[in-house]
Symmetry: C2
Subunit: 327 residues, 2 copies
């Protein structure tokens, strides 16, 4: 068991059992939506990273499972509440909790999930609890800060590329980094090794989000699973948009901004025009190069770790997959 | 420093400083509403109970402050999210967070407050952390369960008095009980003493909520601060209503239920008619007697505690105030 896929399968098996217990808990109207949101779930990437990081330092990771579940429950809580704030009706191709059960149930179920995440953590008996809980609670708070910045950006016209990178660091990267560090700490890794894994996680998280931004414009919609250009239509301040605004000449900037201010437009035409500006400005390559740079920083951190090289293979491969993935 | 009022003043002084730090935190749009909600605050009853319980076993309680703050922040988080769910515009005579800052900000600020509560807890270095965190997280989850039951009751017509008492136990009593137990545990009290304080807290919490129900009908609105009969107008399933429905004769029940089903009514008339039914059924005395019974159970628990009697005076007095309070 050392590739991420087999770890995901291992986690999923235990988690399905746990979801069944959650589903049976009372009051039913609180726990059924929670079980639903966990069932429609996602890739289980974060808990797999918790378990994998532990496996880099120890052989048996059953005792790590509650912490991995805590991270996954917390991640799903953030998605659930994001869907209320965005009034999103669909999550992982299924009705979102707020669509299926209503807004108030979604608020309260999300609240309970956030608390459950801490509760699963406290179920862990580990001599490093004094390190784990401050790390997890700080990270959780950073994710909220990232979400707030993301919301702030919606109504701001002067977001810099640096601010954007800080936002995605908080909203996406820190939880991935925290997952790895928690797994390592729980498996008695040294602080240096745990911090290097954290550094790997931050850079992989940043690359991951940039790839998401890039795929919205340059991905194959058949494979990516989302309609291409969704971010463009919604004027979402992605790295590509902000970089294009920063780089393009005044005339092109005027043209770009005129598209952003149109409330009535043909989506295909808007996507084509803005994509043309992106192509002209070269932001595709710039974005890809920045991803490579984050990938390289991640691999450097991994390289510095004083563990057998064959223990690094999975994360080396993962660093490649993150930026070559097509969905 | 041994009466609750002086403890509240002691807590408030430190908490005001802490709120200033929170207010300065970034992003501003996340932390300003949090600081606002904590500033408009309430009676600071729960943190005072944390500190008082500790003072029953130790002299210096400065190291307990972060835990007391955690409890107060958590309590204010529940109020904040309740106000979204109830679409309440006013909290403590000020605009609620959702009214002042909007729904999405209120959701996210509340989320951050819940996480902050855990973070304040993890800032505590106490050799009983392994007891404190499971207690706090279980309690926090129970509060969500109580809120869900409360919401469920709104659309149910067959709520029993027992179910109602279980709902208020979860929604109100467990956090009061947990506050006392946490203070005691952190001050190295024995498990037996800590559990007796918990039992005291549950019974006081139940009495507290029943007094709230009673004051809505029989309180002096000038003093109580809320318009009398608010619960009656809103068909809120209070102990008085449920007990009246359980006890009154078939003709009176028909009359009572006809008032509940009216969507168009004169509020004064509805309040007068339902109060008359309450008077006829004797639910005022029944409610007061149940309060006395909870008070008595609380005092019994206190009585069993093997600590000097003069250490119990404040909580004995508090048990009296809870059910004699007029606001």
């Amino acid at each position: 068991m050392n590739s991420l896929d087999s770890i995901i399968a291992y986690f999923e098996e235990s988690f399905r059992e746990e979801i069944k217990n959650i589903e049976k808990s009372l009051p039913h109207n609180l726990y059924e939506p929670i079980a639903y949101s966990l069932k429609i779930g996602g890739k289980r990437l974060r808990p797999a990273l918790v378990l994998h990081a532990a496996l880099m330092f120890t052989k048996s990771v059953e005792y790590i499972l509650p912490a991995a579940m805590a991270i996954e429950i917390f991640h799903n809580f953030t998605l659930l509440h994001d869907d209320i704030m965005d009034m999103a009706d669909v999550r992982h191709n299924e009705p979102s909790v707020q669509k299926k059960y209503g807004r108030n149930v979604a608020i309260l179920s999300g609240d309970a999930m956030s608390i459950m995440a801490f509760r699963y953590f406290t179920a862990v008996t580990n001599n490093r609890m004094h390190l784990l809980l401050p790390l997890f609670s700080s990270t959780a708070l950073q994710v909220c800060e990232g979400q707030q910045l993301d919301m702030d950006f919606e109504t701001r016209n002067n977001v810099s590329v640096e601010e954007y990178l800080e936002m995605i660091r908080l909203k996406t990267a820190v939880l991935i980094a925290c997952s790895l560090k928690i797994g390592a700490l729980m498996a008695d890794a040294g602080q240096t090794e745990a911090n290097l894994l954290y550094e790997y996680g931050i850079n992989i998280g940043l690359a991951f989000q940039l790839q998401d931004d890039w795929l919205d414009v340059y991905g194959d919609p058949e494979i990516f699973g989302k309609k291409k250009g969704g971010d463009i239509c919604a004027n979402k301040k992605t790295y590509l948009l902000l970089k294009a605004q920063e780089m393009c000449d005044p005339a092109t900037l005027l043209h770009l901004n005129s598209w952003l201010s149109k409330s009535d437009f043909d989506p295909e035409q808007k996507i084509a025009s803005i994509t043309a500006i992106y192509n002209k400005t070269g932001v595709s390559d710039i974005t890809r190069n920045l991803m490579y740079s984050f990938q390289s920083k991640a691999l450097n951190a991994l390289d510095k770790m004083e563990i057998p090289e064959d223990q690094k293979i999975t994360l080396i491969a993962f660093a490649g997959e993150v930026i070559s993935r097509i969905k």
